[in-house]
Amino acid sequence: MKRLLDIIGDLRIAFWLLLSVAAIMWIGSLYAAGDYVLFNSLNGVRVQDWFAARGLAAIGSSWWIVALFVAFAFLGINTAACTARRVIALWPKRKEMPAKRFAVLLSPSIIHLLFIAMLSGHLLSFTALTQERAPVVEGASLDLAGTGDFSIKSVRHRFFDEKSLLAERIEQSTVEISYMKDGVETTVPVEFLRSVSVNGALLQLDMEKKKKSGKPIVQNPADENCNKENNYNYAKLLAETRPQLFIVATRDPGLFILIPGFALVILVMGWYFFQIGFGRQEKE
């Protein structure tokens, strides 16, 4: 058993696997930048469903996702074996040293266990996520991702100060939704960055700009995350475009691992590196 752990948990393998993962993701980023529409369609759907619907047909561009999952699987196994090796060696010595010293020595193993948990959380997100979206229309009745029926009561926009250069741009939107909870009608506001949970699904707002014809404007590749300003209403474009609010319902079991995992890993990592003087010990 020990021999097996030594082979599987070899740090040289860990090093090259990390570099392999980095290389695959870099190659993937080139594909993702080159075919934004294809890879953006992977967001919000389960990876296996996406492969069946689109990925296999474009395997020449999507092969790296398979390679990435395989490399991460090997990295997870390697990390688990390496951590087990270290803990098995360390545990019998716990009474031979002060508790704090033992905690410092154990910290890298805890960080690695949390890393495995994070990999699992991401895997769960990629394979078990449910996301549905619908346009926000006042008075509409919806049922998205198992939320049960809810209706849209009202839509309000707050704009930036009219004396500023951001005048007439949306600062915040508020969509009031109403649903039955324990036999009582409940009304709650949904805003950008302020989601609400309804029957375990997270409800959020999204927005797209549309042409008068109703056709959505093709997104710029850079608009995928933080810079979606092209999708929002510019005052001058308001007359020509109809910004459309969407309500998005997400059910993601991976988040229950990822969100606390993120907090824990930073705390443990910060404490560990503080204890070892942020690398000064190795330098000395």
């Binding site: 990390l18 980095a22 993701m25 870099w26 951001l166 950008f192 997400t250 330098k283």
Partner: protein, 247 residues
């Protein structure tokens, strides 16, 4: 007065700091770098009012924040570390990044509702700070290779960079969760960010590999300059075409 004048002055002072370093005027070089940093700080703060109202996002645009974070890193190293390497030499990459900032569109990308959160600000601060540490480490590693010093003075910088960059991954994930109900999106920006993290995570394992001595680690750290640049400048260049206000 044009609000961008302090940035031009700061870049000039960074250049002067490097020239003074070349002529072995270490103290004057450090003074010039500090003066440049103070002006640059004033500029970064003033960027919060680019739109005519206080929008903190302007302060944290990575292109402008990176040379500022690098200058701060050099000053902190000078004040608190016991290294004997000539830290002022790093005024050269600080100047180069400041020069890029001078040529870059300086206005504010109009923030969308999903961008108006402290998590976005924390993400950009910690990302720029992590990048700054990696670039400085790469610079000192390269200087060590050229001067055949054979030490690994850059190691602490990579550790600091890794911690700060990990914080960026977490704050970015929380922001993505708040805004888009997911901590990761399949796109070039998220993938390239993960590339940098994996590259330096691999570096942290080198201390356990006997074949990797200081010389090999120096080459690896120096190559980190290209890795960070290749995986961060794509989005900067792409955003050059974005509409901006107040610039």
């Amino acid at each position: 007065m044009n609000i961008h004048v302090p940035l031009y002055a700061a870049a000039a002072l960074y250049a002067v700091a490097f020239i003074l370093h070349l002529v072995k005027r270490g103290r004057a070089s450090f003074f010039s770098l500090c003066a440049g940093f103070l002006l640059h700080t004033a500029y970064q703060v003033s960027r919060a009012w680019l739109a005519g109202i206080f929008i903190p996002n302007g302060m944290f645009d990575g292109v402008f924040l990176l040379p500022w974070a690098m200058a701060l890193g050099i000053i902190l190293l000078k004040l608190f570390s016991e290294t004997d390497i000539a830290l002022e030499s790093a005024a050269a990459p600080v100047f180069l990044f400041a020069l890029f900032a001078l040529l870059y569109p300086k206005g504010l990308i109009p923030p969308t509702p999903n961008k108006l959160t402290v998590w976005a600000n924390l993400f950009f601060i910690s990302e720029a700070a992590g990048h700054a540490c990696f670039y400085l480490a790469a610079w000192f590693a390269a200087v060590g290779i050229i001067t055949k010093r054979g030490s690994n003075d850059f190691h602490s910088l990579i550790v600091w960079g890794f911690v700060l960059y990990s914080i960026a991954q977490v704050t970015g994930a929380i922001w993505a969760y708040q805004g888009w109900a997911t901590t990761f999106r399949w796109g070039a920006r998220h993938l390239q960010s993960a590339v940098i993290w994996c590259y330096f995570a691999a570096y942290l394992h080198l201390r356990f590999l006997p074949r990797w001595g200081n010389r090999e680690k120096s080459y690896y750290a120096a190559a980190g300059f290209l890795v960070v640049a290749m995986n961060s400048f794509g989005s900067h260049l792409n955003e050059m075409g974005f509409p901006r206000i107040g610039g």
